[in-house]
Amino acid sequence: MAAKKIILRFGKDISDKPIIYHLAKDYGLVFNIIKANVNPNKEGTVVLELTGEQYAKGLEYLESEGVRVQPLAEQLSRNELKCTSCGACTDICPTGALYLHRPSMEVVFDSDNCVLCQICLKVCPVKAMEVKF
């Protein structure tokens, strides 16, 4: 079974729980953390590759703990024709995937740092950020 890429979103109430540990120990799943941003008392995200026979049960466990699970089948992209490089997204993007190149002040999107939180879709004044499946 091929590893699946998924995104886990944690509320701040559960950011202190050893959830990934239980995935491995109780369900025998093999995980590879691609990206993680989990801090005490903050909302967090983990992007990981996950595989194992009890994959479905592992996901059920995650959801029972209040973790939201999304497949990483989608990608965001910046429509360069629409984007005006205003910059309004750059201090809202939680991972710095959208940032201003200095001194040109052009907006840059580094999709490697994107955790698909999609807040840019809402805050972009000209709707230049797009979801691609």
Binding site: T84, C86, A88, D91, I92, L100, R102, P125, V126, K127
Partner: protein, 401 residues
Amino acid sequence: MAIEKTYAEINEKIRSGKAVVLTAEEVIALVEEKGVSEAARQVDVVTTGTFSPMCSSGVFLNFGHSKPRIRMQKVWLNGIPAYSGIAAVDAYLGATELPEDDPCNSNYPGEFRYGGGHVIHDLLSGKSIKLEALSYGTDCYPRRELETYITLNDINEATLFNPRNAYQNYNCAVNLSGKTIYTYMGLLKPNLGNAHYSSAGQLSPLLNDPYFLTIGIGTRIFLGGGIGYVAWHGTQHFPGIQTDQEKNSYGPAGGTLAVIGDLKQMKPEWLVGTSYLGYGATLTVGIGIPIPILNEDVMSCVSITDRDLYAPVVDYSDAYSQRISGNLGYVSYAELKTGKITVNGKEIPTAPLSSYPKAREIAGKLKDWIQKGDFFLSEPVKLLPSYQDQITAKTLDINDV
């Protein structure tokens, strides 16, 4: 000897291809190297630019007459109401107008995905726009309803008329409260989580003519990718010099422009429908103004840099909304552009709402037009009021009825 140039002399140089034109960004280095006098001698025109959301914008439209005729009493364009309390088939479509069935902020924060500004952009993009009109019927205008599709080419006039654009300077918005707020200055995170500013700074038109030495009624400008004119001073035109409590000066602020131009020769990339989460819809407008270097005073004004220009830091959770005067201090545009400022002892990230790259592009285009002899300067019929006129803002008192 003092340097004096007239509009006619500068236009003659443009005509003969000899005019020296720099952008407001380029002129900085020249003045730093050669000084104001020598720069004033060498340069004829300095071009400015700004590309920002400007809510007080809209377009007068004349649709032409249907058969039989209608005196349009209510008008919608793609479902967005336009004001038709003027002659039979005239209407004014405002940039911030929303569909009557928009959920607005009842589903907080509202998205405001389509408004008057988006219709203007779609018209310019050549798209077909649904026109609906209702009326009561008269002997001379018997038709009571109408539904059709129009394009910009189909209608008689489309005159962009923006009552307040090109704010000379603007606040740097922060949020002191404990919850996220959604404002016309974007999403402001709680507890000084971020700071938003909105000015082209050293490229901004009215920051390069802070005392209104050259800009006035009839000044020909870059407007929405085409040619426009300064029609009047803008609404809420209160030019002044910012000071703190110790009377330290923080430069000019408060001037605005009313601008006008034929929409049909403008370009969709320079008039863009815009949405602010939880706030509303608007139009992002591209404006560029040429500053004729008439003398050294004018050159001295256009040589300002982001280090010399300041925005007041204002709390939008309370002080702005409750109209409490004062601010949290001043920050320079040079500081704002680094991406971090310090407010109340806390370092916070900054982001602009006004596109500096587009402002630079506009100043560059205008420079190009002038150098090619496609754009001449116009001498204003009358200069606009300046800080010396001491115009102050009136407030609206809520009287008991």
